[in-house]
């Protein structure tokens, strides 16, 4: 038998095993339906449904002055950041509203507010902020300080006949240009990050579970005595599951992201899908390592939870990667999602190509290769 024939036979066997995985998955109707849901409807809901920027923070006002100035100040708290829920008669009632979660902020304007402001003696307003959710509370307080500061300066300058907005005073004005997402459309970010989460979850779980299933039932022993190598057994699962994930990712991108949210694809779509394939291979590597350590589905599930949870929350989609503690950044160099985030946002929104992304891609190749080698070694050793 020539080398070419042998290679062809090897390929045929791999293809047959891969096809078996696809068939097996396609017969699991609940799982299939759920897979489709996760990459379509679920993307739609979370893409459209979440705004993390300060949005409609409920504000109550206690105005003890009822003057032109106090009304002017209250008027500056505007949607979309704040919703004015109304005025209250005494501050204690405001506290109750905060306690019961009906308000996020209470603005307390003292008596003689207008007089003190105009007379140049200075005054203070009090703000109570609910910080059970720390970032949102800080954000609301930040806006308030800015609004009140600008208001105070305007009033002070006006009282000596100057205007803060005219060309007669030395002020530094901020002009912002936001790149890659000029309108700060949060649906782009939310929908993309949802797809990232789903790809990662399924990318780890599908191959891990498929391999453990064979171990748990003992069918893997049958496979091992048949004329296929452990490499083929592992790769068939990875190929089948990656192909399935690529298809549903295509569905998410061309069925939801592009038509519904108008997420751009500035870079090459081909590059995006190639690198998505690389990502699913790498996460599959993680799954396979877990699968070689576990003996049954419950174990593999707990193990996957153990590292998928931190991956999803610490890789930089939910919280900024730059402000994570150093040790988290170090550990997360092992998370393929960390690189895949840069790749996805880079290709889709920034139009980045391989000249920009080569570092992330290289890191992912190394990581994936290492995981596969380790998984392979464990897998072989188990049955010797």
């Amino acid at each position: 038998m020539t080398a070419r024939q042998r290679a062809a036979r090897w390929g045929r066997r791999l293809a047959a095993l891969t096809w078996k995985e696809v068939l097996q998955l396609s017969r699991d109707l609940p799982l299939l339906l759920f897979l489709l849901y996760s990459f379509s409807l679920s993307v739609l809901v979370s893409g459209a449904g979440i705004t993390m920027q300060l949005h409609n923070a409920e504000l109550f006002v206690h105005d003890a002055d009822h003057s032109r100035s106090s009304r002017e100040l209250i008027h500056r708290f505007q949607p979309p950041y704040f919703t004015l829920k109304g005025e209250i008669a005494d501050a204690r009632q405001g506290l109750r509203e905060l306690d019961e979660g009906r308000a996020m902020m209470l603005l307390d304007i003292p008596p003689r507010f207008h007089e003190a402001l105009m007379g140049g003696e200075g005054t203070a307003v009090q703000v109570l902020v609910d910080t059970t959710n720390a970032p949102q509370g800080l954000s609301a307080a930040g806006y308030t300080v800015r609004i009140a500061g600008a208001f105070g300066t305007d009033m002070g300058l006006a009282s000596v006949g100057l205007s803060g907005t005219k060309a007669t005073v030395p002020v530094v004005e901020s002009a912002h240009r936001v790149w890659f997402n000029p309108n700060q459309d949060e649906t782009w970010y939310q929908s993309i990050s949802h797809v990232l989460r789903m790809i990662t979850l399924f990318g780890v779980l599908l191959p891990a579970s498929a391999l453990v299933r064979e171990k748990e039932r003992g069918t893997v022993e049958q496979l091992l005595v048949s004329p296929v190598t452990p490499f083929q057994i592992m790769w068939s699962k990875v190929l089948a599951m990656s192909a399935v994930i690529l298809i549903v990712t295509g569905l998410a991108v061309y069925g939801v992201l592009r038509p519904v949210f108008h997420v751009p694809m500035k870079g090459s779509a081909l590059l995006y899908f190639l690198l998505t394939a690389l990502h699913t291979f790498t996460t599959a590597g993680l799954g396979l390592v877990a699968a070689t350590l576990a003996r049954n589905q419950a174990q593999v599930g707990m193990m996957a939870l153990f590292f998928v949870g931190p991956m999803l929350l610490l890789s930089g989609i939910t919280a900024p990667f730059e402000s994570m503690p150093r040790w988290v950044q170090t550990i997360m160099t092992l998370s393929p999602l960390r690189y895949y985030i840069d790749i996805t946002y880079g290709v889709m929104l920034k139009g980045a190509g391989m000249d920009v992304l080569w570092k992330s891609v290289g890191a992912m190749v190394l990581l994936g290769g290492g995981l596969f080698a380790f998984g392979m070694w464990r897998f072989r050793r188990q049955f010797e």
Partner: protein, 384 residues
């Protein structure tokens, strides 16, 4: 319902669980490790935003201005750039997230009492972080402007420093942060993480416990025995509820002992609500296990159903009030949101049954509904 039968089923399930050493270890270790990793590692504050500068003025004042960004803990200086083209490249490569362009004649114009515009370029891929970064820039500009104005008024109007400063800053804002007085991320995160860990582990344990019997066929022993449906379900759930109850106590001790999160509410109420919440989450696991046939489907569906809505719609990261209507409906259909309110209320706000009874009621309704639905779905005479 025969207590002896329930005991027997529960005992068998307990034996099976405890014999799987790795699984048992993970069931207790996972919540602890997660709380420690996320409690110390998950930093939601936006800090150390990498930025670069184009300084077209090269004056003492422009350096003074830029120095304020460099020494701020919110920004991390990554160097000067030649022109905007270089900034473009740095932004695309994600080397920086923000850039500041100081115009020519910055010092001259300010000294002459004219306004200047400083341009900021921001990476918009993460709109929330962009928005926060914008806020930092505006705040720094505001302080700088106020100082320029004070100088200006002293020179042109002959005011003393104090008079000028009172004119420019007539209004102070006293911010009081409620419930989390030092606005620590850990304080707001750790109680929510107690919810997160309980939400994820217990449905997984339950779902796999039931589907395992279905897949291996050992459930036929139950079908043909005298064990009734209710007895089987109760016995099956008991060990997992027991594990979760131990975890509640461990998590509580960690939150209070290790992270020093104040616990202001009533422990009895908190414990009771937690147990009801556990009933809800194990109920979710049970429901999934009755709808699917394979452990693979059970594992994956439970992980996604437990993880994604919990990250997005529970109030863990985004307050429910800033969700859009569709997402809000989903949040209200899911027990995690109510329990987050209870946990944060019990830890940080010190409110008890008087305020939180409605959330507890929602959990009770959810648990009862789950119980009813699963009881009706589970049948000892399956159609095959």
């Amino acid at each position: 319902m025969n207590v002896r039968v329930i005991k027997a089923v529960a005992f068998k399930e307990w034996k099976e669980t405890t014999r799987d050493r790795l699984f048992l270890l993970l069931a207790f270790l996972l919540p602890v490790l997660w709380l420690v990793v996320f409690g110390y590692g998950l930093n939601l504050d936006v800090e150390e935003i990498p930025f670069a500068v184009v300084d077209r003025d090269h004056s003492a004042l422009s350096r003074d201005y830029l120095y304020r960004f460099m020494q701020s803990r919110y920004f991390s200086f990554r160097g000067y750039a030649e022109d905007e083209r270089a900034l473009d490249r740095l932004l695309t490569e994600t080397k920086i997230r923000a850039a500041i362009v100081v115009p020519q004649r910055f010092e001259e114009q300010l000294a002459a009492g004219q306004p200047v515009t400083v341009q900021t370029l921001l990476d918009g891929t993460f709109p929330l972080h962009t928005d926060i970064a914008k806020g930092y820039v505006i705040a720094i500009n505001q302080v700088f402007t106020e100082e320029r104005l004070i100088d200006f008024l002293r020179q042109t109007r002959g005011l003393t420093e104090e008079q000028a400063s009172r004119l420019v800053r007539p209004l102070k804002v006293e911010v009081r942060y409620l419930y989390n007085e030092e606005v620590r991320s850990t304080w707001s995160m750790v109680p929510a993480l107690v919810m997160f860990t309980l939400m994820l582990a217990s449905p997984l344990l339950t779902a796999l416990g039931v589907v395992r019997e279905k897949e291996t066929g050992s459930i036929y022993n139950i079908y043909s025995s005298t064990v009734s449906r209710a007895e089987f379900l109760a016995g099956k759930l008991l060990p997992y509820i027991a594990i979760s109850i131990v975890n509640i106590c461990v998590l509580w001790v960690l939150a209070v002992g290790l992270f020093h999160v104040p616990f202001k509410g009533s422990f009895v109420f908190f414990f009771l609500a937690s147990v009801v919440f556990i009933l809800c989450t194990t109920g979710i696991g049970l429901l999934i296990s009755l709808l699917v046939q394979t452990q693979m489907a059970a594992l994956i569906i439970t992980m996604v159903v437990a993880m994604i809505p919990t990250i997005l719609f529970s109030g863990l990261l985004v307050p429910v009030s800033s969700l859009t209507r569709g997402a809000k409906v989903q949040a209200h259909l899911y027990p995690a949101m109510y329990y987050t309110t209870i946990v944060r209320g019990s830890f940080l706000k010190g409110v008890g049954a008087g305020v939180l009874w409605i959330d507890l009621l929602a959990l009770v309704v959810f648990a009862t509904a789950m119980g009813g639905i699963t009881y009706h779905l589970f049948t000892k005479r399956p159609k095959t």
